[in-house]
């Protein structure tokens, strides 16, 4: 080996400067775009005055470390401070009152631009009093382009992931073959806690937080689909849809999150008898079936056992073509998550191959 190939230790990087070289707004905006520091849409330039104004949204010091983030496990983790997050919050168009939610998101260390060839998406759900305080939308059009807080917080996460998390450079730190349009805003919304059916807990309470706490939760997945299941009771319709997730290939049909309009949630609670989110989740996980052909294609070990006559696999081989097997792909450690959101204009639901990743206290960052 050459001496170069034997080298160990660390190479220092050039010191990071807090300020960039002064420039005209036009030139600085061009620099930001050409350097890959934006999401392709013009950003609000983070001048000292604007960042100072953003800092009014938190009691934390500018130089305090918020966390570290990396595009995926093999990559190096970048570190960032409160002020660095503030600069990106300004760029996203956020207001100081949004800043604690953005800091909480950044503190999770979860990137919104996970580097995988499969083009991951992320989702942000906000619970607790902060929803009302910053006027987040959990009603009509909650997941659409209609609300400043929903829009800016979701966008900020992607800018943070690029600029503070060392990711988002296609071909280098981002390898999603097709990319994912959901990454522009990361499905950022608030849960409609006020319209939860009796007995159904807010999402953050399900995860161990107090009802009065404000919490931001992150999810990972790939896609969302919009459903209206009017021919069957909702839970039976959802069950068939979950089985179809296996066909789609996303998430191997082993993770799911349901976003229920309040009408749908009330129907499921009052007409279909699921008095908690957990009961619905457990029923679906137990009853979601797996298409036989895909089961055998993906479970070489089980097929071998079936061919050797081992029960119950051998009996499943006798099922007619096109059958579903009485086996669920869902595992108890990855529950089907349920969130209520929407404006009660239709008994719809959205469902996707998402799972919960982490939560963080917003109050800690006020």
């Amino acid at each position: 080996m050459t001496a170069e190939e034997k080298k160990t230790g660390f190479l220092a990087r050039a010191p990071r400067s807090r300020l960039l070289e002064p420039g005209t707004p036009t030139n600085v905006a061009r620099l930001f775009n050409d350097s890959g520091w934006t999401d392709g849409i013009p950003v609000i330039l983070p001048t000292e005055a604007r960042v100072a104004e953003m800092m009014k949204g938190t009691s934390h010091a500018p130089e305090e470390t918020v966390g570290t983030m990396r595009p995926s496990p093999p990559h190096e983790a970048w570190e960032y401070t409160v002020e660095m997050v503030a600069a990106n919050a300004v760029m996203a168009g956020a207001k100081p009152e949004h800043f604690p939610v953005i800091l909480a998101l950044a503190s999770t260390g979860v990137t919104s631009l996970f580097s995988s060839t499969t083009s991951f998406a992320r989702m942000v759900v906000v619970n607790g009093p902060i929803r009302e305080q910053i006027k987040m939308n959990s009603g009509i059009g909650a997941m659409g382009p209609f609300n400043e807080a929903n829009a800016a917080i979701g966008r900020a996460w992607t800018l943070i992931s690029k600029n503070l998390g060392g990711g988002g450079t296609p071909g280098e730190t981002y390898l999603g073959s097709q990319g994912n349009n959901l990454n522009y805003n990361n499905i950022c919304f608030a849960e409609r806690e006020e319209l939860l059916p009796v007995g159904w807990k807010p999402f953050h309470v399900q995860k161990g937080y107090k009802a009065g706490e404000s919490v931001v939760s992150t999810f990972t997945g790939w896609s969302m689909v919009n459903y209206g299941g009017f021919a069957l009771p909702h839970h039976q319709f959802i069950n068939r849809m979950l089985s179809a997730f296996f066909y789609s290939g996303t998430g191997s049909g082993s993770q799911a999150t349901l976003l229920l309009d309040p009408i749908t949630a009330q129907d499921i609670r009052n007409d279909e008898g699921f008095d908690t989110k957990e009961r619905l989740s457990e029923w679906l996980m137990k009853n979601a079936m797996t298409p036989a052909s895909l089961y055998w294609a993906r479970r070489g070990g089980a097929l071998k056992k079936a061919q050797e006559g081992v029960a119950p696999f051998a009996s499943w081989l006798k099922y007619p073509e096109g059958s579903f097997l009485p086996v669920s792909n869902f595992r108890s450690e990855v529950p089907i998550e349920i969130i209520v959101v929407g404006g009660e204009t239709n008994a719809f639901l959205m469902a996707g191959d998402f799972r919960y990743v982490s939560g963080a206290s917003v109050d800690k960052w006020r």
Binding site: M1, E5, K6, K7, T8, G9, F10, L11, A12, R13, R16, S17, R18, L19, L20, P22, G23, T24, P25, T26, V28, F32, W37, L45, P46, T47, E48, V51, M69, P73, E76, A77, W78, E79, Y80, E83, M84, A87, N88, M91, T117, T118, L159, N163, L164, G165, G166, G300
Partner: protein, 121 residues
């Protein structure tokens, strides 16, 4: 009632205002901007693994991290055909491709001379 003289002065004033406006547009104020980038860690140097002087008599592990079990067994077979004096061992790493497998690494350190790992999709 506006006289011709008044109109002339108004015209001069308008022209002056427009020119001043154009001047401002052409000469934007310089602004000071915060660096939006975080702090990357120092670059860790990872030395290359020492080369084997020969494959003859050596045990080489071919490890699949979990993206299908079709390609790498074939790679192992091709290598075994091409280099028959080496012992080629195919292994599937435990768990998902993100999980560590210390047991396998210990086995390879004990019994192997080199490893080829297939990483990717």
């Amino acid at each position: 009632m506006k006289t011709p003289a008044c109109r002339a002065w108004a015209g001069v004033f308008l022209a002056f205002t427009l020119l001043a406006g154009f001047g401002a547009a052409a000469e934007e104020d310089m602004i000071s901007i915060l660096n939006p980038r975080g702090t990357p860690p120092p670059i860790r140097l990872v030395p290359m693994a020492p080369r084997l002087d020969t494959l003859d008599g050596k045990t080489i592990y071919v490890v699949n991290i979990g993206f299908g079990d079709t390609f790498l067994p074939e790679v192992r077979n091709v290598l075994a055909e091409k280099y028959p004096k080496a012992d080629w061992v195919f292994k599937r790493k435990a768990g998902s491709y993100f999980d560590d497998d210390p047991k396998l690494w210990a086995e390879i350190k004990e019994k192997g001379n080199a490893m080829i790992m297939g990483v990717g999709h």
